[in-house]
């Protein structure tokens, strides 16, 4: 779990920044779209950016016996949980 979380942390930082910027841009100044962008395009773009800029650090995970697919699935799970949390805050 620790390994999955460590991989996801890099994606999370990029995703939060990207989603906030996109949410403000397309939501005309408010953050109501943030959870939806965070769960979809923000996540996909972040995974792509992390893969592009941090490609060599993947060997860290390969050497621990983790494939990219496994790590991305773990990240998707963490991302979905955080999205649920964000949506709950908005609904309350």
């Amino acid at each position: 779990m620790y390994i999955y979380w460590n991989y996801y942390k890099t994606i999370l930082i990029v995703n939060v920044s990207l989603s906030a910027a996109l949410s403000v841009t397309f939501g005309l100044g408010n953050f109501s779209m943030l959870p939806y962008i965070f769960a979809t395009i923000g996540f996909v773009l972040s995974c792509f950016l992390v893969r592009f800029f941090e490609n060599n650090t993947m060997y860290l995970y390969y050497n621990l016996g983790f494939s990219r697919t496994k790590l991305l699935l773990g990240s998707l799970l963490f991302n979905s949980l955080i999205t649920l949390f964000l949506l709950t805050i908005i609904w309350i």
Binding site: Y2, I3, N6, T10, E54, N56, T57, M58, Y59, L60, Y62, N63, L64, G65, S67
Partner: protein
């Protein structure tokens, strides 16, 4: 399985980058525990590609890989029996030595060995980005050697490393040799030859086994290089 029965066997490895000529055409290699195999070859001969194919991060046209008697159908690194040191540094630059060790070595007892290491002790809280080339390479190799894998593919472990650190890295590899098997490739062949007990020359897409370093003069280095 006894440690001395463990082996990495790779045969008929064929690989070509899309549209290009075939880079590897039926490579064969066999590494046992206790062996340090030096993989030599010219630039672009496919040494790194071969290591990546064996490790499982590059998909070959065909490869028969057997690890400890069992054929590997999936990516080899998923077995946790093999580690690979890439040419470029693989540790995240924003983290510290302490965090990198804690991340890669989960057992507390093994981690204390790192703290006692004379090279790592003074740089324990230093960021990876601030380490010298030699310190970083030493740390990466030490972290890999502390994994439970039996076979290690080291791609240019001596590149950009000062002579003092080269010696330390050589000592580290030799000290682990009894329990592990190594495939080492480096352009600085003198450092590889100093520790290896088997030499492979990758040439024209195939591996040639050389019996002693004098044979390198026939295929790789100028004649008279090893005249004492």
């Amino acid at each position: 399985m006894d440690i001395d029965q463990k082996e990495l066997y790779a045969d008929s490895i064929e690989f070509s980058y899309s549209g290009n000529r075939q880079l590897l055409t039926g490579v064969y290699l066999h590494i046992k525990v206790g062996e340090i195999v030096g993989l030599l070859g010219r630039n672009g001969s496919g040494k790194s590609t071969l290591m990546k194919v064996i490790f499982g991060t590059l998909r070959p046209k065909f490869a028969y890989i057997r690890l400890n008697g069992k054929r590997v159908h999936e990516k080899t690194f998923l077995t946790n029996e093999i580690c690979y040191l890439p040419q470029q540094n693989f540790l995240p630059t924003a983290t510290t030595v302490d965090k990198a060790v804690r991340f890669m070595v989960r057992e507390k007892n093994s981690r204390t060995k790192f703290l006692e290491d004379e090279i790592l002790k003074p740089i324990w809280q230093t960021k990876i980005a601030d380490l010298s080339g030699g310190e970083l390479r030493y740390l990466e190799i030490l972290l890999l050697l502390n994994q439970k894998a039996t076979f290690f593919l080291l791609d240019e472990p001596f590149s950009g490393v000062s002579p003092v650190y080269k010696e330390k890295i050589q000592d580290l590899i030799v000290s682990q040799c009894a329990k592990k098997g190594f495939l080492i490739s480096d352009h600085d062949y003198t450092n590889v030859l100093a520790i290896c007990n088997k030499i492979l020359l990758l040439q024209n897409g195939c591996c040639r086994i050389l019996n002693d370093k004098k044979e390198l003069e026939l295929f790789y280095v100028p004649e008279g290089t090893f005249d004492a």
